[in-house]
């Protein structure tokens, strides 16, 4: 045994067993390693062999003890102390020891990082309990006790009672089994569990095989053999279990036997010592001997749910082959339901005990407990999880993706079935699942999927079928023939309409009419996303605005929020492709505000310097990740965002030089630009950001050709379908903005500027330049006017003296002061002052609503999400549809300004209203022209 460490390669099977046993026989401390020996190795015993099995050796052969062992020793010594105390009936020291052992327990648990309580402790508890009962029973002795001792006894009684409650089960179990031979019995139990767990993960075995292929041949052989052995053993065990009962003459098998067996298996579910894989196999076997279709269905349901049980952890995914088998089972279920329409699947009512006894020829309805939708949803999420876990750059990922049609078949069939039985609500849930598989696919990808489903779909199905058939045939050889044979009724191939739009439309309209709130909202988001992919910006936008989703999205679950973010990103891309720069920026800037775009789109993790995430948060985030094939290209997104920000911000910055009141449009962009400008040397652009910054430099000088050159050299453009037209659009936009920037920046240098010159400078048509310049004049961005006969722009430069500009500043400050006073008054009294300008009041409402939005931002630490809804609506001026108070207030204000300007003179009577009109006047002044030409005067008089 001493050489085990070195000679593990050549161990035979029996020795292996022995070793395991011996390990447990090491005593109380050696029992623990099995549980704690850290996930990876302990998970699979086979792996552990070839890894260094330090736990085997230490404790037994080495003097050096691990911390764990020390703890166990301490515990053991405490138990000894307790034993001594019992002997002399010293309850005071017993109480001390008890407290000590409890503390030690904590340590042990911490060291071993397991949840399981060591047997030693349980043993001590049992011992104490017994002794306590004994002491209590002996009343005479109790009377004789010293007062301190009696006191200790009483408190011990209470403490023990309380304490033991936590471990009730373990104690009971311990009591059940004889205490002899250390933890022998327990060990076996443990052992079995361990073993089955190891086997449960067949994929892992295979994986480890591959890993070590060339590493150690001998070793591998050994393990293979071993693995095979285990499998064989298992099957033989199972045969023993099952065939004893069922290998008899098929006619002897009755419904009762099967039912009893089913109950037995189901009862064992989740218990210790039941192998999960084994259970599935047992159930699969049972399905074949089921006497009635209903029973078969019942067993199938159990089989499916135990298949789901195979992977207990939230993070990992179901092994793919199990998933496929599960799909097969689901199809079988659907077949049965198709053939026997009188069987009703229900999870609301507990069916009668012998409901499933009713045979195939029974006419009435047979109720079977089960929930198809839940199964389907679970299948979907397992599929999703597996895609999350698999490395997207491997072949495995692609293989896995090819299983998508498989899921689609079931979903389609389940939906059909549910619609047939009239359960539209459930059907809408299924429809949503289908929709979520399709919505993000552009037509090309959709076509590919359709082809795959049509061509290889059958093959795949066959392949899959082969697998199961093979198994079945093996089993068939052994077991009795299937009693209830079900022909394949439901289609095994998904059908896809020609265009994904029709599919999405069909699904969506079904969901809209039957789904619940969440389903509808998600379907709406998917619909919008799909429209956005297909370059239908206006439809997508209208849908988004009409659904009022932005208002309520913060209150929805995180995955819907992620979906919403994805929709916004896609909408932004779509707007950009359509040349709607402002809209694109409106959609995207919030995503980029906090620098956490990856996190918001669930496409990776973003580091936050100031906020460490707890492991739970990280885990939760990992679970939310989008599978790779659903990702939105982040580079493209960033480029879109930055370019649109550039197009808006550069002229704005140029204008801001003259008008300090202008606010930056995109703070993110400004910050980037500042960082970039701080560089002493500017190298050639490398990433997207550098490119845009370089373009920005050129653009701010009005050099549109260079700016476009830099932008067009980005490689992300090749990702776009209509690359030429988009680039063309970008080019013309850049020209326009260059023109505007140039005029802003250099208007003070000119007295006049001819149209010809501008057209040649910016390579734009005359009409275009005229339109842009006219617009700037009307918006009063440019203090100039046309001279029509000569086609020149004449600039009127207004220079303010220093005194004047100071005066303006003072006026602004005074206004702010007055406003602050009013606000303070309002805050104090709660009520507003009568006749305050309504705009401000409304603004405050806005602010508070923004604040109240903020709390729900729990899923992301920052607050950028918070105002997405309102901000979007207001900023883009979609108010008309977003409805709500913002727009209403706007209308209000505007109307008053008009009113005021019309009747300003006459209305100054009442003090209450004066400020009203005065403010309105101010509004009018801002809005209207500074009195250039106003023809509406006639209307006033």
């Amino acid at each position: 045994m001493a050489s085990r460490f070195w000679t593990q390669g050549g161990d035979s099977d029996t020795e292996e067993e022995e070793q395991e046993n011996s390990e447990y026989e090491d005593g109380s401390d050696a029992e623990q390693p099995a549980g704690d020996n850290a996930g990876a190795t302990a998970r699979s015993r086979y792996l552990r062999d070839q890894a260094s099995d330090s736990d085997d050796s230490d404790g037994q052969h080495r003097v050096i003890k691990s911390a764990r062992d020390k703890r166990f020793d301490e515990m053991a010594s405490t138990v000894d102390q307790m034993k001594n105390a019992m002997k002399i009936n010293d309850w005071v020291s017993l109480q001390e020891s008890f407290e000590k052992i409890n503390k030690q327990l904590e340590k042990v648990v911490r060291v071993t990082e397991s949840v399981k309580v060591p047997n030693l402790y349980i043993k001590a508890l049992v011992m104490l309990e017994d002794f306590l009962a004994q002491a209590l029973a002996n009343k005479d002795a109790k009377k004789k006790m010293s007062s301190s001792n009696a006191k200790a006894l009483n408190s011990m009684k209470q403490k023990l009672k309380k304490n033991n409650k936590q471990y009730e089960e373990l104690i009971a179990k311990y009591r059940e089994k004889p205490e002899s031979e250390d933890e022998g019995a327990e060990d076996e139990d443990e052992d079995e569990d361990e073993e089955s767990e190891a086997e449960e993960d067949p994929s892992k075995i295979v994986m480890s095989d591959e890993e070590n292929d060339d590493e150690d041949d001998e070793d591998e052989d050994d393990r293979d053999e071993e693995g095979g052995g285990a499998w064989q053993r298992k099957t033989s065990k199972k045969d023993k279990l099952m065939d004893k009962q069922f290998m008899k003459d098929p006619s002897e098998i009755t419904w009762d036997i099967v039912n009893k067996k089913l109950k037995e298996i189901v009862a064992a579910r989740g218990k210790k010592g039941t192998g999960r894989v084994e259970q599935v196999e047992q159930l699969t076997f049972l399905t074949r001997v089921a006497k009635t279709p209903a029973q078969k269905l019942e067993i199938l349901f159990s089989a499916i749910s135990s298949q789901f049980d195979i992977n207990p952890s939230l993070l990992g995914h179901m092994p793919i082959n199990v998933w496929k088998k599960c799909v097969g089972n689901m199809l079988l279920v659907l077949d049965i339901l198709e053939q026997y329409p009188n069987i009703v699947v229900d999870d609301m009512v507990e069916p009668e005990e012998n409901e499933t006894q009713k045979g195939a020829d029974y006419n009435g309805t047979v109720r079977v407990w089960g929930n198809l939708v839940a199964f389907l949803e679970r299948l979907d999420s397992e599929f999703f999880k597996s895609l999350q876990c698999i490395d997207p750059y491997t072949r495995e990922y692609v293989e896995r993706l090819r299983d998508e049609p498989l899921f689609f078949v079931i979903a389609q069939n389940v939906q059909d079935y549910l619609e047939r039985i009239g359960d539209f609500k459930a059907a809408s849930k299924v429809a949503l699942r289908r929709l979520e598989l399709v919505y993000y696919k552009p037509q090309e990808v959709y076509d590919a999927m359709r082809n795959l489903a049509e061509q290889t779909g059958t093959e795949e199905g066959l392949e899959d079928g082969d697998e199961s058939e093979e198994k079945q045939s093996i089993e068939e050889n052994r077991g009795p023939p299937v009693f209830i044979s079900i022909p394949e009724l439901v289609p095994r191939k998904p059908t896809f309409p020609e265009s994904s739009r029709t599919l999405v439309d069909a699904l969506v309209s079904h969901i809209y009419s039957y789904g619940d709130e969440r389903t509808k909202a998600r379907a709406m988001l998917c619909d919008i996303y799909h429209h956005a992919i297909f370059d239908e910006f206006s439809i997508a936008r209208d849908l988004l605005l009409m659904s009022h989703l932005q208002d309520g999205i913060q209150l929805m679950d995180i995955s819907s929020q992620i979906l919403f973010n994805r929709v916004m990103a896609q909408l932004g891309l779509c707007a950009f492709r359509a040349g709607l720069i402002q809209e694109a920026h409106g959609c995207l800037f919030e995503l980029y505000q906090g620098g956490r775009v990856k996190e918001l789109l669930a496409q990776g993790f973003s580091q936050n310097r100031y906020h460490e995430k707890t492991p739970e948060q990280e885990k939760a985030e990992r679970r939310r990740q989008m599978p790779y094939h659903m990702h939105i290209n982040l580079e493209l997104l960033e480029a879109t965002h930055l370019i649109s920000a550039m197009l808006l911000e550069v002229p704005n910055m140029a204008a801001a030089a003259y008008d300090p009141k202008r606010k930056p449009i995109s703070k993110t962009f400004r910050r980037l630009l500042e960082v970039n400008e701080r560089h002493t040397f500017v190298g050639p652009p490398e990433n997207v950001r550098d490119h845009v910054m370089a373009a920005t430099r050129a653009l701010s000088k009005g050099d549109c050709h260079k700016a476009f050159g830099v932008i067009s050299s980005l490689d992300i453009w090749k990702l776009l379908r209509n690359r030429e037209s988009v680039l063309e659009m970008v080019k013309s936009k850049i020209k326009e903005e260059a023109l505007r920037t140039y005029l802003f920046a250099y208007s003070s240098c000119y007295d006049t500027l001819s149209l010809e010159q501008l057209t040649s400078m910016f390579d734009l048509s005359k009409a275009h330049v005229h339109s842009i310049v006219s617009k700037m004049m009307v918006m009063e961005e440019l203090q100039a006017s046309w001279d029509q006969p000569t086609k020149c722009i004449v600039f009127h430069n207004l220079e303010q003296t220093r005194l004047q500009s100071l005066l303006f500043q003072m006026a602004d400050k005074l206004i702010i002061l007055a406003e602050n006073n009013e606000r303070a008054f309002e805050a104090r009294t709660g009520g507003g002052i009568e006749g305050l300008p309504p705009k401000r009041r409304e603004g405050m409402d806005y602010a508070t609503s923004g604040a109240s939005n903020r709390w729900q931002d729990n899923y992301v630490s920052g607050a950028s999400q918070g105002r997405q809804g309102g901000g979007y609506g207001g900023r883009l001026g979609y108010g008309g549809r977003t409805g709500g108070s913002a727009q209403a207030g706007g209308g209000f204000q505007r109307d008053h300004s008009g009113h005021g300007s019309r009747g300003a003179g006459g209305y100054y009577g009442g003090t209450g209203r004066t400020s009203y009109h005065a403010s309105a006047l101010r509004g009018a002044q801002v809005e209207g022209s500074a009195g250039m030409v106003n023809l509406s005067r006639a209307g006033r008089i």
Binding site: S538, W786, F808, G877, G880, F892, M932
Partner: protein, 451 residues
């Protein structure tokens, strides 16, 4: 010419009977082949009880004296049903025709019903029959009778749903009788009900609003009281601050499901001088909906206020003229048979010209008069346009000077005085501070006094 015709889009939102005037108009304009319109009329009539009229049209269409048997049968059926309804509603009608008895009715509905029941043995059945009878009368084309009966029915009816449909019926009848004043009253009543009523679904309410807007087109573009004030009302409904919530609601309805109404909204805004401030908002809406709805009128506004493309605007103006002439609501004729004018068109053209001119002047310092005349689509000689502009200047609508030697108009560049600007911005500070002080001091004084 028919490509901007909205009849097909408007008709589904109207009552059958309300479509008739539209078809009449189309027939008059000769946009479509006469036969098609006649066929459409027969189709329209087939679900009404105006069988005689349908027969006439049939004869006119096929130039025969024969009438299909189906029509004859239907006529018999209609007449018999009319009889039976008349009988069942007779007691109530006879009661209502007696002015003295009607005097006894009080505003309290419950009381009325009770009284009718006690003294005249008129129960719910008779009241229901009155409704049916009124409806039948309406379908027969006897609008005035239907309007009367419906009015009385509403006084007796307790069912709010019924009451609402009676109101719709009354509105339709009044519109068809061209009693615009009454119709306007009914319209307002209906609007209040729709806005205040809680509908089973928002969709339902939206549909009601859309109907209301479509029906109101008849009234708004036809009110005898002078179109100007009516258009004002049309907007008041949507825009004044007291109704600002309706602005959102009705504009919403337009944007969701009735984009074509933008034409009427746009026309109304353009024609109405006193609603200039709506223009900005309207342009915004038009821009937003340009992917759904476009016609020369909206395009005109767009080219004028979004793109500042005056050549385009000028082109659109020409098209607009045709559109207005061919629109049943806008192209209403006034005048005697041989000299008909479309007042709305004239006003529209006048106002649009003013718009163009105003905008044009706003961004120019110096304009050639002949170019201006061309841009405005005036078809005038140089002298005429000179006169036009002079007129504008004289009426102090335009601050400009004419340079006759060069043939240009020169706009003076007016800068607002810096002092003015500052005074302007500080103007209200005084009152605001005063108000604040007052608000603070007053409660304190009250508190002191009470102490």
């Amino acid at each position: 010419m028919a490509n901007h015709d909205l009849t097909s889009r408007i008709a589904p939102q109207l009552d059958r009977h309300l479509v008739f005037p539209l078809l009449e108009f189309l027939q008059e304009r000769e946009l479509y082949p006469n036969d098609e319109i006649l066929k459409a009329k027969i189709q329209l009539l087939s679900h009404t009880n105006m069988v005689d009229y349908a027969m006439d049209i049939h004869k006119a269409l096929y130039h025969t004296e024969d009438v299909p048997q189906a029509m004859v049968d239907r006529r018999v059926e209609v007449v018999s049903r009319l009889k039976s309804l008349e009988e069942s509603a007779a007691p109530l009608i006879s009661f209502l025709q007696d002015a003295n008895l009607v005097q006894e009715l009080r505003p309290d509905r419950q009381y009325n019903i009770q009284m009718l029941h006690d003294r005249f043995q008129i129960g719910a059945d008779q009241i229901e029959a009155l409704y049916q009878y009124a409806k039948f009368q309406f379908e027969c084309g006897n609008y005035s009778g239907a309007a009367d009966y419906l009015y009385q029915y509403r006084a007796l009816c307790t069912n709010s749903e019924r009451s609402l449909s009676a109101l719709w019926g009354k509105l339709a009848a009044e519109i068809l009788m061209q009693n615009w004043d009454v119709a306007l009253e009914e319209l307002n009543r209906l609007k209040e009900i729709i806005d205040s009523k809680s509908f089973s679904s928002p969709l339902n309410q939206l549909q009601n609003r859309i109907w209301l807007m479509h029906w109101s087109l008849f009234i708004f573009f036809n009110h005898e009281n002078g179109r100007n004030s009516i258009i004002d009302l049309f907007f008041q409904d949507r825009s004044t601050y007291r109704f600002f919530s309706h602005l959102v609601r009705y504009l919403n309805a337009i944007q969701t499901n009735a984009h074509h109404l933008l034409r009427y909204l746009a026309t109304a805004v353009i024609v109405n001088k006193r609603r200039r401030n709506m223009l900005k908002e309207l342009v915004k809406v038009i821009q937003q909906e340009q992917h759904c709805y476009k016609d020369p009128i909206t395009e005109l506004l767009e080219s004028l206020y979004v793109n500042y493309d005056f050549d385009e605007a000028q082109k659109k103006l020409k098209e607009c003229e045709q559109v207005i002439l061919n629109d049943p609501f806008l192209g209403k004729r006034v005048g005697d048979s041989n000299f008909a004018t479309v007042p709305l068109r004239d006003e529209f053209l006048e106002n649009t010209r003013l718009f163009i001119f105003e905008t044009y002047c706003r961004i120019h310092r110096c304009i050639d008069i002949s170019v201006l005349a061309e841009k405005l689509n005036l078809n005038m000689t140089y002298d005429e346009s000179l006169a036009w502009i002079t007129n504008l200047i004289r009426n102090s609508k335009l601050e400009a000077k004419i340079d006759a030697a060069l043939g240009t108009v020169t706009m003076p560049v007016v800068h607002q005085n810096v002092h003015e600007q500052i005074i302007e911005s500080m103007k209200n500070l005084n009152t605001r501070t005063y108000l604040l002080a007052k608000n603070i001091v007053e409660p304190a004084q009250v508190a002191q006094a009470s102490r």
